[in-house]
Subunit: 326 residues, 3 copies
Amino acid sequence: MKAQDPQGFSQLDAAGRLRHLITLAGLDGDLVRELLARAQHYVTRPGQVPAHGKDLAGFTVANLFTEPSTRTRASFELAAKRLSADVVNVDVMLSSRVKGESMLDTIYTLQAMDVDVFVIRDAQPGVTQYVAEHVADHVSVVSGGEAHLSHPTQGLLDALTMLQFKGGFRDLVVSIVGDIRHSRVARSAAQVLGILGVGELRLIGPDELMPDAHEFPGAQRFSSLDAGIDHADVVMILRIQNERMEQARIPDAAGYFERFGLTPERLRRARPEAIVMHPGPMNRGVEIASEVADGPQSVIRRQVANGVAVRMAVLSHLAAARRSRG
Amino acid sequence: MKAQDPQGFSQLDAAGRLRHLITLAGLDGDLVRELLARAQHYVTRPGQVPAHGKDLAGFTVANLFTEPSTRTRASFELAAKRLSADVVNVDVMLSSRVKGESMLDTIYTLQAMDVDVFVIRDAQPGVTQYVAEHVADHVSVVSGGEAHLSHPTQGLLDALTMLQFKGGFRDLVVSIVGDIRHSRVARSAAQVLGILGVGELRLIGPDELMPDAHEFPGAQRFSSLDAGIDHADVVMILRIQNERMEQARIPDAAGYFERFGLTPERLRRARPEAIVMHPGPMNRGVEIASEVADGPQSVIRRQVANGVAVRMAVLSHLAAARRSRG
Amino acid sequence: MKAQDPQGFSQLDAAGRLRHLITLAGLDGDLVRELLARAQHYVTRPGQVPAHGKDLAGFTVANLFTEPSTRTRASFELAAKRLSADVVNVDVMLSSRVKGESMLDTIYTLQAMDVDVFVIRDAQPGVTQYVAEHVADHVSVVSGGEAHLSHPTQGLLDALTMLQFKGGFRDLVVSIVGDIRHSRVARSAAQVLGILGVGELRLIGPDELMPDAHEFPGAQRFSSLDAGIDHADVVMILRIQNERMEQARIPDAAGYFERFGLTPERLRRARPEAIVMHPGPMNRGVEIASEVADGPQSVIRRQVANGVAVRMAVLSHLAAARRSRG
């Protein structure tokens, strides 16, 4: 164990730049806006050659994904490759290791091979920060999704998507619909929206799937979808898992769709120019109707495209911050 | 769903170049010859540095292989990398998705990450064309093998191999031996040979494994190997699977070898300079004797080498066609 | 089968350079020293951009790992990529193939795709040499670990680590502790130390896990850890597997730790500046105490870093040797 900041772990360096990206909680608004601007710089139109760069030339990125995640892993992999990094995918179950030390041995081994950035997805809370606390000074850890707690690049891509379509956050009404309680997507969205000063944040879902009272401070809570999306500018639908329906005493997918599925009719309660978001993968006909998912208000593909841009921005920020630390 | 050509799906663009490669059926002879010439340009001798290029620099190729296929996946991966593409391998079971929409969501997600070319192998008929019908205008789909129906790059590599050794097709007698009924290799070979005007195509195998009467128009059918390879210039042996022997009421591998295994003795019935082909992986001692597989008339390794060249040719053709569409 | 050297298989070319690396046994001291010097050239300090080069530009390296091996596979993959090779990872069980011919067909297929270097890990003795005996003249085979017999790049990285910390081998006392009998790490270490003229080699472990009498000529054998590490300069701890404890009539991990676990107290019997090595992955609290693994005498991370450098050295030596053969 090395010396830690007396205030506890910090994902920032002395100059306030990111050394790691574990959570969006507590990030400075200027830093978030810089990351979004950097990401916007990497956005290209479909059919154009996507942005490439040399920012990570000579760097090695290791993807350690311990939950199945084709899309997020591929997104990070392409972001790293398009910035000229060497990339290795390592199939490893960090948190399933018998002891924490054994988990760190895996990390230290890869670090000794000159891995510069670890992208880690792990189902166990605290693993990404734990790794970040123990890597060498020049090494960065980026969360690819941590339990129900944090999915920071998802939060950034969601914010970037809202910014592109809405131009700002101050007057925005954002409604998040579904299993808020178990959603890292919802938590990271709430964090980034708090930082950027969103007008109004609403959480909609069955009572049993609402977060604890102290979580999501300032957000309004609704158990009725119709009420919750009234005049919303952004409707963010979450994926629902079957075992959660049971927990919410909803008999089946049809029952969930009836209560919380976003249909074209329901969407009419939101503002006319409202956008519809979903982190994917979608359960069509369960939490969202296909007409909505593929409809003119859906920006779901744009979220995916922004995901690569945001991950490129985070990686290039980390590389630049490291270079300026010397 | 977007507007489709009134004649139905076309894998060609308005200028007659490939936008996709789903099947060889119906391709123009000039186009096939152009692809073969382009592939020949990528052929190098063993031990030389293989051909490399920048034709796909900035492009992203995603390999979606839903059947186990080490060799074909590696061949496409190397073809793409040697043309400087960014490559991602995605382990995904497209057709096992519950609904077609869910399959398309996977495709659209990767497309939103700026994947330019999908290489897809799937056991379910129609999946590759279905994907091709739905991707964006600038995106291409290449079949890596579709059910029993189509394996177009295999057909092209087989044609290239015959061209290299025989110089042309007009006077050629080609005998395909084995489980024709379930073979995408045989179908794509028959298609490309039809386009290129082969002299004579013969199908040899147990009656139960012969294709339906309307398939393979113009081909002669034989249930005797000796009769079928008489004076053949090319003997193409297909892999036989155990469950098919049963279907053909052949007790075991030895029984199959006795009736349809290509031995040196039997090969003497073909023309003296006949070549022996096999798409691999071989069941030695079942459909082919090792003496033949490793003998002087075998061009099986050359087929594999041509496979990379053909895949490079297809990828670079697709990239050039896209560039010229602007 | 092609003509072989009358003396049997040789992994060297006519000029005495490596064509393959199957084993360290019998290698010339000058060659080993050249490889170590070349590897040292690739060593960088943690936090520096690791060494990169173009030595393998245009070359293709295929990793065929048939035992799970995240760390060694990643090490070879990064070594090859940093030298600009095209890399394919192939999940294939070579020795599980029904027949040797079928194994070779897999190799020949990849060779026909212009794979230049096969890195092979296989649990069955003889597989790597068998492959090396059959590949084309321009193709190289590098062992990534062969049964209990050979792990040549591990031996080289161990030697490089000793050289860095001890400056030479002549006066060195090296103690290897654990399941020597089943250890390819111990065998390759003994071979390279023999070649480099180590002062004294000691083997320590339960009698049941000692190698046969004729193996490890010149090494002293100890069944007591305390006696075996007395005044040692290098203490190399091996990983112990549970089934081996049983074989050694040791009831459990605690019992093994009591007899053969390296603790800070026991380490005091070695020379004060002795270094502690372990090939990884470590069973902390079984064969090594965490205080030792993470202590000031541990060079375990350095071994890992040297592993990449050694693999780059081997690959670049092979490429240079091939170029000079023309």
